[in-house]
Every structure is written in C-alpha cells, then in structure tokens.
C-alpha cells in the first residue's frame, strides 16, 4: 500500500515527475561520464602497457620511452646481457626514428620502428604476415593511404632526407608484408616497422648498435620493481620504468583531468540531490493535509517517512537508469571527438566504462536520492496533526 501511494504521488503530476527524472538522468549521465573520464585515460594507458606484455621499459637515463630522440649505445651487448638475466624472460629492443618515401607529389614522412618481431609489443598484425626477413616491413593503414601502396608492394624507403639537397640517405628496398595497428600511435600516423638491424642501418652510422627503448618481460614470480632497481644500479646509462611507475607518471600528468572530473562529478551529485529534494519537498507540501490525515487514522511515522523516501528513491533509480544509457551514448560521442586529437593512439579511450566504478557512482546517486527524501519526509511525519488539519481546513 505504501509503495502504491508513493507511485501514485509520483504519477499525480506526470509532467513534473518526468522533467525531474530527466534532470536526474542528465546529472547521472554527467556523473557517469566524469567517473569514466577520471579513470578512462589511466586504464586505457594501462591496457596498452599490459597488452604489450612487458613489465619494464629501459630507456636512456632520465627519459621516457620516445619522449626524446635519445638512444643508448652498445645495444647488442645490452640485449645479450639482459637475456642472460635469470629474472628476465624476454627482451624487445626498439629503435625509433623518421623515414621517408618518395611519392608522385613529393615525399611522405612517417615514423619508423626498428624492432625484434619475435619480441615486440608496438603493433598488432591486422592483415598479411609478420616480419621474417631484413627487407620486409609492416605498415599502418594511414601509411598505405599516404603512399598509395598496397600489401605485397616493394618500395624504396629512406632513413633520412635532406630537404634542401632533396637527397635521401639510408635508402632500402623493402617489401610490404603486413598491415599493423600501431597501438601507441595515432590512427593518422604513418607508421612502419622493420627489423631492428634494418632500421639501424637506415638511420646511419650514428644510430648503429643503438636503441631507443628496451622492452623487458620479467619471469613469473620476479618482482618487476626490484628487477628495475637492480638493472638501474647495474647499468647507470639506463632508466628502468615499471608499469606501475609508468602509470604513476601518467597519473601525475593527468592530475588536472582527474580533479576536473571529480569536481564535475560532485556538482552532478549535488544537482541530482537538489532536484530530488525540491520535487519531493514540493510534492509533500501539496499533500500535507493527506499526510496529516494518514497520521490521524493511525499510519505510523516510519511508514510516512518510508513512503516519501521511496518517492525519492524511485526518482533517483529512474534517473540513474536513464542516465546510464545517456552517459554511455554521450561518452561514446565525446570519445569520438577527442580521439581525433593529433598524436593520440587510435585506440585510446578518454571515457572507459568500468562497470564497478560506474555502478558505484550511480549507487551513490541513488543514496543521494534516499538522503534527499529524508528531510521532507521527517518534516511531514513530525507535523502536529491537529494544527495541520485545522490549517488545511481553513485553507
């Protein structure tokens, strides 16, 4: 009966209730989006790192992977030493730089990765096959579009280009054997991968036997952080960055985003709370006589409070449910816009749906709905019955 009365109270003014639910839904959608934004980029980044399967990244001292053009020499010896380490299962050396391809309209520049195809986490093969010989390359879709080539084509690729002399250096004839999705690069990036030795040769003598980063997979049971500290102590030219340290670094860089998300999420919660409080208060004020009569005929205070709180909960649940859908649609739309920012990895998500976090946030909104109903409910339940009935009769 109480649930029936609560529902009836909400359906009595349908337009008003619908507008309130719409308002709560917008607040819930914003709350959800902010929660998704708050953790989305970080978790997206973690996803990239975990997908690669390497726990450590060794870079020239004081640099981040591909943060600069810095490289470290004696790469072959370093790789050999690392592969001999009992705590290390796999080592993936990577050398990054530019490459150039002559086309009918001029020269197309792109990003070239030299790597070990048996130990790499930079691209995922989408078509063709992986690198098997020194004169083969895997490229991105944007690369194919820019050069007008297709899988199976053979092409001249340069490791350097002097625009004043219009002279290419480190040219090689390479065959396109695979189409890859370069996970840390933007979809619009013209990216190519070749075997490490090929890239070192193409970049010239100053890049011979050098690498930009060494990806390291530790053996099961080994503490990645401890291995990182040990490697750093043994090789002062290197900085060893673990996944957790990388995420911490990302956290620091994304601090402003998270603060903004937190503030906007709090505002959304407050808006939802105020909307529900306002509607329930107005609704209770309209029914104050009915409530006094219910009390007069013996309906308990707790029952009155339950009914009114139930109204707040119903509004919040309806709003949160609608807001869930609205928030996901909005997040998808915003993600589409933000993904076109230059330099961002193609699969990078600003808004990532984490069910636990999302439902926690929406649960919090529903709790706000409960809290929003408590004050008007208690006020109504504690009104002096006789006075209220007399005032209602006079009114």
């Amino acid at each position: 009966m109480i649930a029936r009365l609560a529902l009836a109270a909400l359906t009595r003014r349908r337009a008003r209730t619908a507008l309130t639910i719409a308002g709560v839904a917008v607040a819930a959608a914003m709350l959800l989006d902010m929660v998704m934004l708050g953790s989305g980029m970080r978790e997206s980044f973690r996803g990239f790192i975990d997908q690669q399967g390497f726990q450590l990244r060794l870079t020239p001292r004081g640099t981040m992977p591909f943060d600069s053009e810095a490289t470290v020499g004696g790469a072959a010896a370093l790789v050999t030493a690392l592969r001999a380490d009992p705590d290390i299962a796999r080592v993936g050396p990577v050398l990054g730089g530019k490459h150039f391809v002559a086309v009918d309209t001029g020269v197309v520049a792109g990003f070239l990765l030299g790597l070990d195809p048996t130990a790499q986490g930079d691209y995922r093969l989408e078509a063709g096959r992986d690198l098997a010989a020194a004169d083969e390359m895997v490229v991105s879709t944007a690369w194919l579009v820019a050069t007008g080539r297709t899988l199976g084509d053979t092409i001249r690729v340069a490791g350097g280009y002097d625009p004043q002399l219009r002279r290419a250096t480190g040219e090689r004839t390479l065959r396109i054997v695979g189409l890859g999705r370069f996970q840390m690069l933007a979809a619009s990036d013209r990216a190519a991968a070749v075997p490490l030795a090929t890239a070192q040769a193409m970049f010239g003598a100053d890049r011979a036997d050098r690498v930009s980063v060494l990806l390291v997979e530790t053996r099961g049971g080994a503490d990645a952080e401890a291995v990182a500290r040990r490697l750093e102590a043994g090789e002062p030219r290197l900085t060893a960055l673990s996944t957790e340290a990388a995420l911490k670094f990302v956290d620091e860089r994304l601090g402003y985003f998270r603060q903004l998300a937190f503030i906007l999420a709090s505002v959304s919660l407050a808006v939802g709370f105020l909307l529900v409080t306002t509607l329930v208060t107005v609704s209770v004020n309209e029914r104050i006589g009915e409530i006094a009569v219910m009390r007069a005929i013996g309906v308990a205070r707790a029952r009155i409070v339950s009914q009114i709180v139930l109204e707040g909960v119903a509004l919040s649940v309806a709003g949160a449910t609608l807001g869930l859908g609205l928030g996901l649609v909005t997040a998808r739309w915003l993600n589409g816009i933000l993904a076109t920012f230059p330099g961002l990895p193609a699969a990078f998500d600003f808004f990532r749906f984490e069910p636990a976090a999302a439902f926690r946030a929406l649960g919090l909104l529903v709790c706000c709905g409960i809290a929003a109903g408590i004050w008007p409910a208690w006020r109504a339940a504690t009104l002096p019955i006789a006075t209220t009935l007399r005032e209602e009769a006079v009114a």
Binding site: R4, R12, M294, I297, G298, V299, A300, R301, R303, L389
Partner: protein
C-alpha cells in the same frame, strides 16, 4: 443511563495553547463519560473547544492535565508510537472534509488502516467490500474520490473509520460539507451505526444531527454547561 461500562472516561482534562505570549485554555477541566453503545453529540458555538475535545479523545492531541481512558486504556500520556497505534485500532475518525486519499479507490481507502494494521490482503479486501456495502456503496468500490459525490465520499470515510473495528467512532462535523438531503442520509447512517452497536461521539453545529443523537452535550468556553440524555441506551426506537 445504564449499567454498561464506560468506553470513554475523561477526567478534569485541560488543554492550554501558547498564544501571543500567553496561555489560552481551549478545554478547561472538562469531565465526560460515554457508555458503550451511546451516541453523544457535542454542540456549542465556534471556538468553544469542541474540536479540541475531539482531538484529545482521539489521541491526536494530548491534554495539558487530566486523564482520558478509552476502552480501559489511559490515552492521555501515550508516546507518539503508542498513540498512533491507538488511533489505528482504538478509535475511528470521520472528518468534515472527508479527507480520502485521492489516488486510491474507495475500497483501497477503506483498506488503508487495515493494511497499516497488517491485516492479510484477502481479509481486508473482504472487510472493505462488507463495509462499503454497509454504507450503501457496494457498486462504487473501484471509484476514486473525485468520481464520488460528497455524501458518497463521507460514506467511504465512515467505512474507513470502522475498518479496524474501533471501540469508539469520532466524527468532526460529519454533515458540515453536505447539502440538507445528503446530510439527512448521513444522519440516518449514523443512527443505523449506533443502533448496530457503534459508540459514537460527534462534534456538530448541525441541529438535526444533534437531535438524532441519544445524548447532547453542550459546551461553552471549554467546559460542559449542559448534558441532556434524549434517548436511553435501552430505548431502541
């Protein structure tokens, strides 16, 4: 009077309200006994304390001093939860303005106090049908208050007041909102209720309603100034 036990016994009750910095007494040392099966009409001019008395008798309000015993229970010092429970099962209220829940049907309005008293659904539905039939509304169970006339709404309110079989029915100006013909029908209904054994206390300005009661109590300035027994309990005609 008969030897029947009093259903209601009010002893020297007073009710004072603070007003503009001073205390005003609406009921001043009033004593009243109502026997089981009686129908008492409380009459008097506006502001004489009739409605305050009714609120005190129904445990809606508490006397400042004095004692009220209804069906053997002292209701003058009950806490909120106990008073609420007493209002639910010990007394039935009929208001001048009917005060039905507009979103519930006639039957649901009658069921409301029974639902609160946790009467099983089947039982309360049967009781609601029975009561609506008793007040002459057996065809209107599914109608909402706005689909009913004033007289019909008051009948539903009476059925609701009787739902939990209270020891005492309290009615505040039950004909106050009704036209003369409907008022007469309502008086006939109260008369039938009383003849069937319901103890009733009504507060009224309606002379015809007062004349229909067995006993008429006149109030003035918060005290009883006259108490007329018009028909003894054993007089059934």
């Amino acid at each position: 009077m008969t030897s029947a036990a009093p259903v209601l016994s009010a002893q020297a009750i007073r009710r004072a309200y603070p007003l503009a910095g001073r205390s005003v007494e609406a009921v001043r040392g009033l004593s009243l006994e109502v026997m089981a099966g009686e129908w008492v009409a409380v009459v008097g001019t506006s502001g004489c304390g009739k409605s305050t008395l009714l609120n005190l008798l129904g445990a809606i309000d508490r006397p400042t001093t004095g004692r009220i015993v209804i069906a053997g229970r002292d209701v003058s010092a009950l806490g909120d939860a106990e008073a609420t429970r007493f209002r639910l099962t010990g007394v039935g209220f009929v208001f001048q303005r009917f005060y039905l829940m507009p979103t519930l049907t006639a039957a649901e309005n009658v069921e409301l106090p029974m639902a609160e008293a946790r009467v099983p659904r089947a039982q309360r539905e049967a009781r609601a049908r029975e009561l609506l039939a008793y007040v002459g509304l057996d065809g209107r169970a599914d109608h909402r208050p706005f689909q009913l006339s004033g007289g019909e709404q008051q009948r539903v309110a009476i059925a609701r007041a009787l739902a939990n079989r209270p020891a005492l029915l309290l009615a505040d100006e039950p004909t106050g909102e009704l036209d003369a013909r409907t008022g007469a029908e309502m008086i006939a209904l109260f008369d039938r209720l009383n003849r069937d054994g319901t103890t009733i206390v009504t507060v009224t300005h309606d002379e015809e309603l007062a004349q229909a009661a067995r006993r008429v109590v006149h109030m003035k300035d918060g005290v009883i100034v006259d108490d007329v027994l018009r028909r003894p309990l054993d007089a059934r005609a």
